[in-house]
Amino acid sequence: MRQLDKLDVMSRKMLRGSQQGERRTKKKGQSVEFADYRSYVVGDDLRFIDWNLYMRLDKLFIRLFMEEEDLSVSIVLDVTGSMDYGEPNKLEYAKKLCAALGYISLTHHNRTSLYTMADGLLESSQGMRGRRPIPQMLEFLNRQQALSPDAQRPGDMTSTFKSLAVQNQLPGVTIVVSDFWDKGDVSDAFRFLAGDKKDTYLIHLLSPQEVDPVKGKVVGDLRLTDLEDGDIAEVSVSPALVKKYKATLQAYCNHIKDQAHRRGLAYMISETDVPFEVMVLQYLRQRGLLA
């Protein structure tokens, strides 16, 4: 916790908040950090006149300071059926990650919202700020369960992110934690995450069993059932097929990464066997999400 307290959610952009917070914004305002001077005009607050300059130049200048505002942090947790897979379980790992990110965000008085998504946006817990709603956030995350294929309705990531964009129009950081198993077009979906006022991080979580099917004992003549849509695939898993699978997975990840970069989204990929501390304290810091 102490280590998390030292961290804060970083945005690669200077975004405007709605309330005064701990984050510099483009907006000049009241803070201790000097930003610029400008000539005095009638009506300006006399408290910000730089009297020393007036003494030297005999002109009135107003000292401008960086406005420190809060940051809107939206954390989107994927609760599709596919997340309930792997050892360590992807959903559990993702929930812990979201909890850590939410905690960090809240402790720095950022405006924090949590969303869950599956075949669309499911639930949300919005407008949390300060340490007080931390239990609320944890409770929200705790009750999240992966959706079974039966419970899911048709939908895809595009519609989900579209809904998110509509609901969350505040400038800020959006963090999507998902395995990004989507049979639709992700580039289309990412369109709704991009924008000048948004700084979006995609955290792609994969279990070790997905990266190497042999670890998941996906071997032999199998009838594979998709956890999300119940789709059936009959395969005879041979070394050649495993090799091909790995190549396809790599290509898929690269595709998501390329599409994210095209839209200006930050992309991070991790396996769930990476220790959580390493993930938060090192991995996310190295990639600039946390500082």
Partner: protein, 671 residues
């Protein structure tokens, strides 16, 4: 290969093969498993199929392996049988030809004898296919060439049979199949009831002509296995088919050596023929021998080989080893050279033991016998039997055969006098029989007519060549009782009147009637008979022949003057002599070449030159038909279908395929 129950297998195939294939058409019962997304798997499978054009075949490798497995099991179910030359439980006689022609090397580099042994072992392998001893089963092994050797009597121990087969050694002898058949005959007779004796003859069919009576093999089936490359004429063989030497009658130092080359190739062969005396090369001739004649002399008979005669003239007084060889590379090596020992000139010396017989004396003179010595029976009995025998040619060459009694004789004629002891020299008897066991003379029965004629005689005998005996009245000639090993030469009304008996290598020709009791001396056939008999008995028929050479398979008779315990010859093989009084009978020569001894024997026996000189053995062409005895019925080996089931092989094969299938599956599925 045949099948015992093909219908069962066909029915099973009709059920199982479609079932197996349909199993592949039907979907596999796959293990169910949930995964986060099938997205990548579907793409991977698609990519794999798109990128590998032979993927279907690869995927179906297991199907093929399983089909093969099924097929093997189905074939096993059909109970396949093998075509074999023998079936378990048979009584089999393995007769292997190990004559000279079997040393021919065929195109595959293997001698025919080796091929014959392999084939024979195959037959034996068939015998124990049923496993265990079976009633009446068994095999015996006979090897034949000039003589027949029973290598293994009937036994059910097939290991011993195999060992005997492997132990058959190559020889350079001629082939006398009749003796082999004769060895089998008693066993065939013993086989009774429904049992049959199967005689497997492994030979190239090059059999020397035999004049023996045809042999019938009751209860026996002869299967001839033709060994050798039937198209062997291309490999060809160039043989020295004859070799002889003669001295000039007037000038004995002039010697003419005659050789005959036979070419069995379908192309003319040019080669160098080297003529050597002792170790000196006297001459080399370049000779072209024509190809095999394109026309057969008779239907079913192979065309005769191309032949060329050669003569070499030399001046040589003493003895020498003459060798003739050619340098043509061919299939058979035994006939590429021939050798003989050149003897000094020799004249026939005859002793006549008689109280007086003008007919005989006249006949001897007309036969050109210049060295004729006459003795009365009393004088004869006083002689030392050993000194009566002529030791060799040396004494004759030195002394010029002047007629002195001490020089010994080549042949003795007994006229109405039987010696007390059997002489050590070839002899001719008139009106008496020598004291030989089993040989006696019975008088004509008193009630029989006084005169009779010779009714039958052996015209093929060299002693009766050109001798007409049909018009000779005999007065009470009696009849001869001839021992089993004797040869009847002529038969009168009551029985044999002329016979030949050989004891301890000494030939005794007996004319049972008194010349004075017949009109034979008045017939022209009498001097002809004397002219035939005396040189044959005295000089082995070679009055002018100046070279001594033996044939393989022949027994040499060595006359010794001194007491020696044992006689051994070394050379291409080591052979021993068997002592028979003062003579030694040397074992049959197995191989061609020069045999030498260190024993104290006369000069002419120090070395023995042995040759093949047989056109039948030199002929590399394989006879597809083998005549048994003189029977004209050809026996042809045919593969007969036997109940030698070979389904276990298919089951083993199926197990191997099963293992392979497992490996294929494991390889595919092991990650």
């Amino acid at each position: 290969m045949g099948f015992i129950s093909p219908l069962v297998a066909a029915i099973a195939a009709g059920i199982t093969i479609p079932a197996l294939v349909s199993l592949y058409f039907l979907k596999l019962k796959r293990k169910r498993m949930v995964i986060p997304s099938t997205l990548l798997w579907q793409r991977a499978v698609q990519d794999l199929q798109v990128n590998a054009p032979f993927q279907k075949i690869k995927n179906n490798l297991l199907l093929w392996v399983q089909l093969l497995l099924l097929l093997l099991l189905l074939v096993a179910m059909a109970r396949p049988t093998q075509n074999a030359f023998a079936s378990p439980g048979e009584r089999v006689v393995i007769v292997i030809d190990h004559s000279a022609s079997m040393n021919t090397t065929d195109a595959d580099g293997e001698s025919r004898l080796e091929a014959a042994k392999e084939r024979a072992l195959e037959v034996v392998a068939n015998l124990d296919a049923g496993g265990g001893d079976q009633a009446g089963a068994g095999a015996m092994v006979i090897a034949y060439a000039h003589r027949t050797v029973v290598l293994q009597d009937f036994t059910t121990d097939l290991a011993r049979v195999r060992s005997a087969i492997r132990g058959v050694e190559a020889t350079d002898q001629k082939t006398h199949l009749d003796s082999a058949i004769a060895a089998v005959e008693p066993h065939a007779r013993q086989t009774g009831g429904d049992d049959k004796l199967y005689v497997h003859v492994f030979s190239d069919g090059r059999v020397s002509k035999s004049t023996d009576e045809p042999l019938a093999l009751a209860n026996a089936e002869v299967r001839y296995h033709s060994i050798g490359d039937s198209g062997a004429t291309s490999g060809s063989n160039l043989a020295i088919a004859a070799l002889s030497a003669r001295r000039d009658l007037e000038k004995p130092q002039l010697v003419q050596v005659y050789a005959r080359l036979a070419n069995y190739s379908d192309q003319a062969v040019t080669t160098n023929v080297r003529f050597m005396a002792d170790d000196r090369v006297l001459s080399t001739q370049r000779v072209t021998v024509p190809a095999v004649s394109k026309v057969a002399l008779a239907p079913g008979v192979l065309p005769p080989p191309g032949e060329t005669g050669l003569t070499f003239d030399m001046t040589w007084l003493g003895d020498a080893l003459i060798t003739i060889s050619h340098d043509h590379q061919d299939l058979l090596r035994a006939d590429n050279s021939a050798r003989m020992l050149l003897t000094p000139s020799r004249e026939l010396r005859v002793l006549m033991v008689t109280t007086g017989n003008g007919y005989l004396e006249l006949a001897c003179q007309s036969a050109g016998i210049e060295n004729l010595v006459q003795m009365t029976p009393d004088q004869f009995e006083k002689q030392d039997p050993k000194r009566l025998r002529r030791g060799g040619w040396d004494d004759a060459a030195i002394a010029g055969a002047s007629g002195a009694a001490g020089e010994g004789f080549d042949v003795i004629v007994f006229d109405r006098y039987a010696p007390k002891d059997v002489p050590l020299i070839n002899s001719l008897y008139f009106g008496v029989v020598p004291p030989l066991e089993g040989l006696s003379r019975k008088d004509t029965r008193p009630d029989s007519p006084a005169n009779e004629l010779i009714t039958q005689w052996d015209r093929s005998s060299e002693l009766l060549r050109n001798v007409e005996l049909s018009d000779i009245p005999l007065r009470r000639p009696g009849r001869l009782v001839v021992p089993v090993d004797g040869t009847v030469m002529a038969i009168g009304r009551e029985g044999p009147v002329m016979a030949e008996v050989t004891r301890d290598t000494v030939r005794h020709v007996v004319v049972g009637f008194d010349l004075y009791e017949s009109l034979w001396p008045h017939r022209i056939s009498f001097p002809v008979f004397i002219k035939n008999v005396l040189p044959t008995l005295g000089l082995d028929g070679n009055t002018q022949e100046a070279g001594i050479g033996y044939h393989t398979g022949e027994n040499a008779v060595v006359l010794v003057d001194t007491e020696i315990d044992a006689l051994k010859y070394t050379g291409p093989a080591t052979i021993a002599g068997r002592a028979l009084g003062t003579t030694f009978a040397v074992d049959a020569f197995p191989r061609v070449g020069l045999y030498e001894t260190k024993a104290d024997v006369p000069t002419r026996y120090k070395q023995l030159a042995v040759n093949l000189l047989d056109t039948a053995e030199s002929d590399p062409r394989v006879a597809e038909v083998l005549e048994i005895g003189t029977s004209s019925q050809a026996q042809q080996a045919q593969a007969v279908e036997v109940r030698k089931e070979i389904w276990p092989w298919f089951v083993w094969g199926a197990l191997a395929v099963l293992l392979m299938e497992w490996m294929v599956y494991a390889r595919r599925m092991h990650i």
